[in-house]
Symmetry: C2
Subunit: 289 residues, 2 copies
């Protein structure tokens, strides 16, 4: 997905929120905002929005001298999500369609996100979980995903955020674990999941775990490690969680990708062709099945 | 009021809204956004936000080749407000405290504004009028304003927007008309009232009417005409309508200014020390009365 003009005010809003989280020094905050204004004034709008997010958060980490400003936030989200995990697992166990319920919950977990919408509290999480179990969803797309999962030899599951990955665990557990490679970011960016988070959630005991070698809040293949690109090009099914992965991979038609995301932004909603708030499940290109 | 960091995303949002109103050409829209990003990256934050608004709207007018892009909008607002005028006048006539009711309605008219909040429809206007008649308001400040009005020899009334000035008319009519000079902008900027609008509303037959010689969406004295500055420095009471006038005159303590505005922006609310949505009536400096 390219960068739309509407993304520009949002870059600045997100920069301000992020820089305030990492420093209370108004001079540093102002410096970062001015730098981002300059970067955005010259940016290539054919790049996806996470490309600019990448530059913004690199700058913020550099200026603040903190290589992982969201570390505590991520730990809190991981704990918070793991406390929910047993009751969510019970919801899957009691449901008529385990796979569909797990997909719904994996998408519900996608609201744990510091980028577009700020913090999350228990009440909003409970509400999101309830809604995600009832909201309309493309059931055919889920069935197609399920068929693809069971036919694939090599599944690459691209995670999005810390905390959210505990919700992903529910879906992973409905899939053939030995055929899955779970992918996290190569180093910290916003609250995106890294190796440390996946280990916290116990995912390294469950599936093969790799990082993509990059600190882009999404998946820009050219920025990823050679090793990750090999895995990407070899996989016969890719499951990509969240907006950042959609924004960066929406035009990658050489692989079969299923996107799973909660649509939190009106621009992405328009790009997908759905309403904001949608629990989106869809395939990037016509399936060959 | 200085420019806060929160104003920066808002400048970009307002630029995008405004440039889309004047041109459907995405290249021009992109050009204007990039220019504004560059301007904001270098701006002096000690200037008030309308200083940047001024530069943004000059750029938009220049790029679009349209010296008055909001002309039709302003005419529509004037007609819309003049249609409401008779029933509003009746509300004043039937009220127990005519002056207070007129102040409340003059502030209600301040939501007719294209800058911070987009368009306005009849329903929202009716709701705003009802609320403005019931909402808490600083009655002591209104009484103090009334005393000052009746003691002043020379009252300068700084208007804000087209349409809104029909609401101001209700308040003007509760004041000694012969002592009032009504001030509009020197040339078009956004939907701010100009001589043409004041004449449309019939205000030129009611009071002395002058323009301030400037196209700033507020009152930056250095940008105003010599003639206006003389009037400003001579007046013993200044009534300043709207956010733009507050933002640009909040630090002018050498004159007695009463600000009347609907607080539409959280940053301005914090600067004033009130909640967003407040019907604000207050004096800039301790009164000598």
């Amino acid at each position: 997905m390219k960068t739309y003009l509407e993304c520009i005010p949002c870059f600045l809003r997100q920069t301000l929120e992020a820089v305030r989280m990492v420093t209370a020094d108004p001079k540093l905050q102002e410096y970062v905002l001015r730098e981002v204004l300059r970067l955005v004034s010259e940016m290539d709008l054919n790049q996806s929005p996470p490309y600019m997010g990448w530059q913004i958060h690199r700058l913020i980490r550099q200026v603040s001298g903190n290589p992982d400003p969201y570390r505590e936030v991520k730990r809190r989200f991981n704990r918070f999500a793991m406390e929910l995990y047993p009751q969510l697992k019970e919801k899957v166990d009691r449901s008529e369609d385990r796979f569909q319920t797990a997909v719904r919950l994996a998408i519900a977990g996608n609201i744990i996100d510091f980028g577009p919408a700020g913090a999350i509290d228990g009440e909003r999480m409970d509400q999101t979980i309830d809604e995600s179990l009832k909201s309309p969803i493309d059931e055919e797309a889920i069935e197609k995903l399920q068929v693809n999962v069971f036919n694939a030899r090599d599944i690459l599951y691209l995670t999005d955020n810390a905390g959210e990955i505990a919700f992903d665990r529910l879906l992973l557990e409905e899939m053939p674990l030995e055929r899955i490679t779970l992918v996290v970011k190569g180093s910290p960016v916003i609250n995106d999941a890294t190796i440390e988070d996946a280990e916290n959630i116990g995912l390294s005991n469950l599936v093969k775990l790799v990082d993509n070698g990059s600190d882009v809040p999404g998946t820009i293949l050219e920025q990823c490690s050679e090793r990750f690109r090999r895995l990407f090009n070899r996989a016969d099914l890719i499951i990509a969680k969240g907006q950042g992965n959609y924004e960066t991979l929406s035009e990658s038609n050489h692989r079969k990708i299923f996107f799973l995301l909660k649509v939190k932004c009106p621009v992405i909603a328009r790009d997908i062709g759905c309403d904001p708030g949608t629990l989106a499940v869809f395939e990037n290109s016509p399936s060959e099945d």
